[in-house]
């Protein structure tokens, strides 16, 4: 079956395209992109004016919780949330139960993903067995089974030596090492960013230096090994400084920032809801100077990707004392509206840069298909409605968990439709697009 997306503004930065063009989809592939393509036997889909057609968004940092924590999320519910949020693919973290440290777990996740048949799922394997930081996981077998990177996310790789060996070893397969950057001794039992608000509320704090130490360590190991190092969910201005310096001297480092870290600050600990466990995440919401640094890194190109760190938790787990609540919030269904509102409409970046952050660069860092609308590429397409007013409602999220601090927020910009492998998996009725 052929379909012709007609008359949308097509943004495909990998090919330097930003123009009103037609996109011809043939089965699960992009057949052609060009001006006024002949209809022939294709079904015509008129793209209403103002909508943006771009390569499918890839969220490179998601916790799907399966196997083992299906009460929080499953591969099926997580990928349903992904397509509703405009993501055609997600990379899922290995801190499941059991940990994704061997090919069996990877195969299980991929089987669940095939069963759900929604967003593409790229598993990320563990650096160490059970992510315990002692022995290397079966990295070659993980790669063979389909893992696209390795990490001990949720915690940093235990020692510099293990991180070095992981990078040396994974480098042989071209697998990047993704690091949850954190110095455990400096973190201690902290539950928030160390700053004025944690101090007034009596919450134990971790400074930005805690993250930056982990980033610096990884960058030094990247320099030592020549392997690719990726800083996950960067939040501290000192980490950004380290990444910028490393990039300047040609070290292979990339980084991602989560929407909550470019939107919120630690002021959210105090208001509107004091001690709201839905503003508890790790790394924590930081002070305004850090948030502003993340925005500037996004604007000047130092930041490579926007990734959600989608971390679903059951409401029972969050309805506890702040210091006992688990870290993390869901993000798949709020990322695009936040990015459009806070980055594009705020005048910080233009749409092509947004597509780089959400599609081109994640594909490049993880070396996965997508990130472009080139002829022959998978027909993974995100259609944006950048001027649509979107109201976030926690209760109607597709994710199994509703732990978001953005409930009730009104934002400018949303997802119109999500197409994965030529199949339309999400259409936003408010965007008035006749896709089926």
């Amino acid at each position: 079956m052929k379909r012709l997306l007609k008359g949308g503004r097509v943004i495909d930065p990998a090919n330097g395209i930003d123009a009103v063009l037609d996109v011809l989809i043939d089965g699960d592939r992009i057949a052609r992109v060009g001006p006024s393509l002949p209809v022939d036997d294709a079904i015509v889909v008129e793209i209403p004016p103002g909508l943006i057609v771009c390569p499918g968004f890839i969220d490179m940092h998601v916790h799907l919780r399966e196997p083992g924590q299906e009460h929080k999320e499953t591969v099926a519910t997580g990928t349903a949330a992904a397509v509703a949020g405009g993501f055609t693919a997600v990379a899922c973290m290995p801190n499941t139960a059991p940990v994704n440290d061997n090919a069996n777990v990877t195969a299980y996740i991929l089987a669940k993903a095939a069963e759900a048949n929604l967003a593409r799922v790229y598993p990320i394997g563990a650096v160490s067995r059970e992510s315990k930081g002692e022995l290397l996981a079966d990295i070659a077998e993980l790669k063979q089974a389909g893992c696209v990177a390795i990490t001990d996310d949720g915690r940093p790789v235990a020692t510099a030596l293990l991180l070095r060996r992981a990078m040396e070893y994974a480098g042989m397969f071209g697998l990047p090492v993704i690091e949850h950057c954190e110095d455990p001794s400096l973190k201690g039992d902290a539950v928030a960013h160390e700053g004025y608000h944690a101090a007034t509320l009596g919450l134990r704090g971790m400074p930005g230096a805690c993250e930056a130490l982990g980033a610096e360590r990884g960058i030094l190991m990247a320099e030592l090994t020549g392997s690719a190092f990726h800083v996950a969910h960067m939040s501290a201005r000192a980490s950004l400084r380290a990444v910028r310096k490393a990039k300047d001297v040609g070290i292979r480092v990339t980084c991602e920032v989560a929407p909550h870290h470019f939107t919120l600050t630690d002021e959210s600990l105090a208001s509107p809801i004091p001690y709201d466990t839905n503003v508890k995440m790790n790394p924590p919401l930081r002070e305004a100077a850090d948030r502003d640094a993340m925005l500037s890194g996004i604007a000047d190109g130092s930041v490579d990707a926007i990734a959600t760190d989608h971390a679903p938790h059951h409401y029972d787990e969050k309805k506890v004392e702040f210091d006992r609540a688990p870290f993390g919030i869901v993000g798949l269904e709020t990322a695009v509206p936040l990015a459009l509102d806070r980055l594009v409409h705020a005048g910080l970046i233009r749409l092509p840069r947004l597509v780089e952050l959400l599609s081109v660069n994640p594909a490049r860092i993880l070396r996965v298909p997508g990130g472009t609308l080139s002829e022959g590429a998978p027909a993974d397409i995100t259609i944006l409605a950048p001027d649509l007013t979107v109201r976030i409602e926690a209760a109607v999220l597709r994710s199994k968990s509703k732990n978001t601090p953005f409930d009730g927020w009104e934002l400018r910009g949303g997802v119109a439709a999500t197409i994965v492998g030529g199949r339309t998996l999400f259409v936003n009725p408010a965007a008035r697009i006749a896709l089926s």
Binding site: A199, L201, G202, L203, I273, V320, F322
Partner: protein, 327 residues
């Protein structure tokens, strides 16, 4: 917020009731509300001096004292206050550790709430635990100390004790010395004293000073002599022996050498200085016995006033005179 005020005791209070059903912290109180509580406590103190120390103000009210942390002084003080107001009281003491794998705080609270108490007085090791309760309970929640956050009735009884001696708080230099980082007493006192117009100095080793302390509206120093100089009031904070030594300063002996309140250090303060301590004291660590037992010490007055201040808080949260008229 209105300018800090400190009305004289003989003037009627500017407000006659509290806005909130709960007392979660001093941060949420206005200066007028603080004065209302302190003025009400004057009358309550008089009740405690009668031969029959009981009034019917809270007759028919049920108060649950829910303590997740060990406490002798505060729990006893609340219980006496409740009984003097004729409330029906119930004490529940739960070791925090045993709750970890058992019932959640929210479920415990909802179970207690199902039995229709009017007030829950809670102490808990987690900062913000009272905020959680106030969101899910209809009962009045009174914070008897939550983690490192606030201990509002302690700050109120401290202010009551200061007013008793000095007649006002406005303009006084108050030095607070000790473990600032972990102290809920510190946070409540900073809110209260700055709202009432005192000049607050805090002092401790840099390892025990909270981040951005200047934004609290206080002066911070690690030089005791500077903090104490010309002070009207010195509040000593407890050093928590079990988690301090070796981690935040080298030894208790060294702590006493650098920060301990001795008679010699006291001489830099004003001649009518008051020495306060929220208890329990570590003699020879943060305070020399000669100072704790000396003529400037009001430490036992603080304990005595705690009952009156807590009676005032309970009375006002129950609706004050309005409730009494209806009963």
């Amino acid at each position: 917020m209105s300018a800090p005020v400190d009305a004289h005791l003989d003037q009627p209070p500017a407000v006659t009731s509290l806005r909130s059903k709960d007392l979660l912290g001093i941060a949420e109180l206005t200066p007028d509300e603080i004065l209302l509580i302190l003025d009400t406590a004057v009358a309550m103190k008089e009740v405690g001096e009668r031969p029959i120390k009981k009034v019917p103000a809270l007759r028919g009210k049920t108060i649950v004292n829910l303590f997740f942390e060990p406490s002798t002084r505060t729990r006893t003080s609340f219980e006496i206050a409740e009984k003097r107001l004729s409330a029906d009281t119930l004490n529940i003491a739960i070791a925090s550790s045993s709750v970890v794998k058992g019932e959640t705080l929210a479920d415990t609270a909802l179970n207690i709430e199902a039995m229709q108490p009017d007030m829950i007085v809670m102490r808990h090791s987690s900062s913000g635990a009272c905020h959680l309760l106030s969101r899910i309970c209809r009962s009045s929640i009174i914070n008897a100390g939550d983690g490192m956050h606030e201990h509002p009735t302690q700050a109120l009884l401290d202010a009551f004790t200061i007013r008793e001696r000095k007649k006002h708080v406005n303009g006084l230099k108050v030095a607070i010395v000790g473990d600032l980082l972990h102290s809920r007493v510190l946070r409540s006192n900073i809110h209260l004293l700055t709202k009432m117009g005192a000049e607050v100095w805090v002092c401790g080793p840099p390892t025990l000073i909270p981040t951005d302390i200047a934004r609290f509206g206080v002066r911070a120093t690690s030089l005791v002599d500077e903090a104490v100089a010309d002070a009207d009031v010195i509040m000593m904070l407890r050093i928590q022996l079990e988690r301090m030594e070796g981690a935040f300063f080298p030894s208790l002996r060294e702590y006493f050498t650098v920060f301990g309140m001795t008679e010699a250090r006291l001489r830099r303060a004003r001649p009518d200085v008051m020495i306060m301590h929220p208890g329990p004291m570590n003699r020879g660590v943060e305070i020399a016995s000669e100072v704790a037992d000396g003529p400037y010490s009001v430490i036992l007055d603080q304990v005595a006033n705690g009952v009156a201040v807590r009676m005032a808080v309970l009375y006002l949260l129950a609706g004050g005179a309005e409730h009494e008229a209806a009963a």
